[in-house]
């Protein structure tokens, strides 16, 4: 057996649980459960109606099977759709937040207590189904930026939420988006008014804690004319033997000359070496460049989850608008990822760039699936796609499915793809220069992902590099 075939996995670092009394609704999904969730959140009638409409549509749909992933049927009636740490009343300030929750986030490296806040980053911390704390609310308010837990935004800014909710991902968009629309519990809402450059990075950290619970959060970000915002999302979950469902929806709206930069470092529990447990990450993320000269940029580093099903895309409606997708997806052991993007060119001279890096190790399967659609009116549209796959060992798989649909003859499309393998020779070369085999793999993989990492905000680029090292640790013996 060559050294490359030796696989050992480093234990998942975030696999512990917080022992906290939680309040859940009974397992299963029905109109009554939805009414119960909506009531618990004190929602207005229109939102409940929207949820019910989504639910009624969802029951008529069937789960999609086109993705290149395999898993046993999900029993939607066995999932708890709402779990919240028990508390007597809503916390008005951080002092009132249960110290156990603050501790949880500290341990995850997400400091939300007053003294230890991350400089320059406002964080919304979501624990199971509810938002625990949002930092820097006041500073942001002065700049006119609204950054709130979704449920609070519904109460405080119902008109804004109502105007944009479902405007990019309609409730009937797809199976998982419909499910989310029916049962979503919390998430983040960000609104940057006209001409404002958001003074700090906005960030949401999602933590699933409770057992047999799904997390269904919803994020909505709106950048008005000329506004700019950079947003980061991070996540983790305890190690559990059963699979847990995470079906989120993210909607972005950029008006004229606005820019939204959305970065994700996804580190859900991936399951063990044999593929037992782990999160099913079935997520719908889409941005609409509604205005002229607007720009939406997705950067994702996906290392966790047992199964990833995710295609952050852009609808390029405004003339001269720009969509970007930079992705690193790493799979090890028995993980499966089917991820990519959708770029829909509607406006004139719209441009999109896709850079996808897939790294497969162990017995994992890594699929890039991307769609570029140039509509009739999108004169002068351009797309550049680059899909690179890297294989570590010989028991994993890399797959690429690009779909291209061009309906305007002035469009320019470029597509590049490559597949490479980290070989013994490459590792030996580094070792011959004094590096350990593990440092060699980490260096080679980081070099491979460089074009994507440079798109991440500085502090997160470092985190992503480390995470990559950990995910692949032991993949080369």
């Amino acid at each position: 057996m060559t050294s490359i075939e030796t696989h050992v996995t480093q234990p998942y670092k975030y696999g512990w649980t917080t022992d906290i009394e939680s309040e859940t609704v009974p397992a299963g999904l029905s109109e009554d459960i939805i009414r119960l969730i909506s009531a618990k959140k004190g929602e207005p009638e229109w939102l409940l109606e929207w949820r019910l409409k989504a639910y009624r549509h969802w029951v008529t749909m069937t789960e999609p099977t086109w993705a290149n992933v395999k898993y046993p049927p999900i029993d939607y009636q066995a999932i708890h759709y709402y779990a919240a740490p028990r508390r007597d009343k809503a916390a008005k300030s951080l002092d009132e937040v249960d110290p156990k929750l603050l501790e949880t986030f500290e341990k995850l490296g997400i400091p939300i207590s007053e003294q230890k806040r991350l400089a320059g980053v406002a964080v919304d911390a979501v624990f199971d189904s509810v938002s625990v704390a949002t930092t820097f609310k006041e500073t942001l308010k002065e700049a006119g930026v609204i950054f709130l837990p979704f449920s609070e935004a519904v109460r405080e800014h119902p008109d804004l939420v109502r105007r944009y909710l479902g405007s990019v991902v309609p409730y009937n968009d797809n199976y998982f988006a419909a499910l989310n629309s029916a049962v979503f519990t919390d998430g983040s809402f960000a609104y940057v008014p006209k001409g404002v450059r958001c003074p700090m990075e906005l960030s949401t950290y999602f933590r699933i804690n409770a057992m047999a619970t799904g997390q269904f959060e919803r994020t909505l970000i709106v950048a008005e004319e000329g506004a700019y915002v950079s947003y980061l999302e991070g996540c983790s979950a305890p190690m559990r033997d059963e699979n847990q469902l995470h079906a989120a929806v993210v909607e972005l709206v950029a008006l004229d000359d606005a820019q939204i930069k959305y970065s994700t470092v996804q580190n859900w529990y991936p399951g063990d070496e044999e593929g037992k447990g782990g999160i099913y990450n079935f997520v719908t993320k889409r941005g609409k460049c509604a205005g002229v000269n607007s720009k939406i940029s997705w950067t994702q580093v996906e290392t966790g989850s047992a199964i990833t099903w995710k295609y952050p895309g852009c609808i390029l409606q405004g003339d001269n608008s720009i969509g970007e997708f930079y992705s690193v997806a790493v799979t090890n052991n028995r993980q499966q990822a089917d991820t990519g993007t959708k770029m829909i060119h509607i406006g004139k001279n719209t441009r999109s760039t896709i850079v996808s890096k897939g790294i497969s190790a162990g017995k994992s399967q890594n699929t890039y699936r991307g769609q570029v659609k140039i509509m009739k009116g999108a004169a002068g549209a351009r797309n550049y796609s680059q899909c690179d796959s890297m294989l570590i060992g010989d028991q994993c798989g890399a797959h690429t499915f690009p779909y291209i649909d061009v309906r305007n003859s002035t469009a320019i499309m470029e597509h590049e793809a490559s597949t490479s393998k980290i070989g013994e020779d490459q590792i030996f070369y580094c070792q011959q220069r004094g590096l350990s085999a593990e440092d060699a793999v980490s260096m080679i993989v980081n070099g491979f992902c460089k074009e994507v990492f440079k798109e991440l905000p500085m502090e997160f680029a470092v985190e992503a590099q480390n995470l990559l090292g950990i995910s692949l640790e032991g993949s080369v013996g």
Binding site: Y429, Q431, G434, S436, M443, C449
Partner: protein
């Protein structure tokens, strides 16, 4: 510095080395010549610790230590350097970054402080000056898009920065035109010191016009069949390898 005794080695069950004996002392340059398939590159790879080769018999002692018992990176950190016949590419990682990681891995193993970027650039600058080269390679990714000649030059550059005690040049002359050959040879000569040693593995005599060996060995069918001074290389150039093989048989 290096003693090889009765070394036998095989790859995928085929025996390639069949009892190699060789002693290299500090300050010496040894040339290992021989026809295709004689095991020259195998010997170089085994000394560096390539995992694909299996040593079946014999021993290798390097500075009093059992070299075969050391991991490839330990050997490198102890001063064994291999200039590869086919240097590999590493996308997205600049030469400067790669070299600093290599230098620091060795420094760390020797209990020295790691160099930060600025200190490292000073060291690098000095090394480049000492061999008379510029820094045009430094910000390019390791060997990516390099011509064959550039890759070989890059190996020598790494050697200059890492200051090995025992340098093994595996067919560094192959693929080089005459000007590049001279440049590389000059750099190697400048790096010679009384306390280091060099093993030059080559097919042809021409490199030895520029790097003068103290000893020349002929490897044929996995054994050193003849050893001599630098004049042996000229004789091989003139008469080929067959007569040595016949003599040995």
């Amino acid at each position: 510095m290096l003693q090889i005794n009765n070394l036998h080695a095989s790859v995928e069950g085929n025996e390639i080395l069949r009892g190699v004996d060789l002693t290299v002392n500090a300050g010496e340059v040894h040339a290992i010549m021989g026809p295709n398939g004689s095991g020259k590159s195998t010997l170089a790879q085994i000394l560096a610790g390539h995992p694909a080769y299996e040593v079946t018999e014999g021993s290798v002692t390097y500075e009093g230590r059992d070299l075969l018992d050391m991991d490839p990176e330990e050997r490198a950190r102890a001063g064994v350097f291999l200039a590869f016949q086919y240097p590999v590419e590493i996308r997205g990682i600049t030469n400067a970054y790669f070299l600093r990681a290599a230098v620091n891995a060795t420094r760390k193993a020797r209990g020295l402080d790691e160099l930060d970027t600025i200190d490292f650039l000073d060291v690098l600058d000095e090394k480049l000056k000492s061999i008379g080269w510029d820094d045009s390679f430094m910000n390019r990714p390791v060997n990516e898009g390099f011509s064959g000649g550039e890759k070989k030059r890059n190996e020598i550059l790494q050697m200059a920065v890492l200051e090995p005690k025992l340098a093994i040049l595996d067919e560094t002359d192959s693929g080089l035109d005459i000007d590049a050959l001279k440049t590389v040879a000059e750099a190697v000569n400048k790096l010679r010191r009384p306390d280091n040693a060099t093993i030059v593995v080559t097919h042809y005599q021409r490199l030895l016009n520029y790097i003068t060996p103290d000893f020349v060995h002929v490897l044929a069918s996995g054994k050193i069949v003849k050893s001599g001074g630098k004049e042996l290389a000229l004789e091989l150039e003139a008469r080929g390898y067959d007569w040595v093989k016949d003599e040995a048989a």
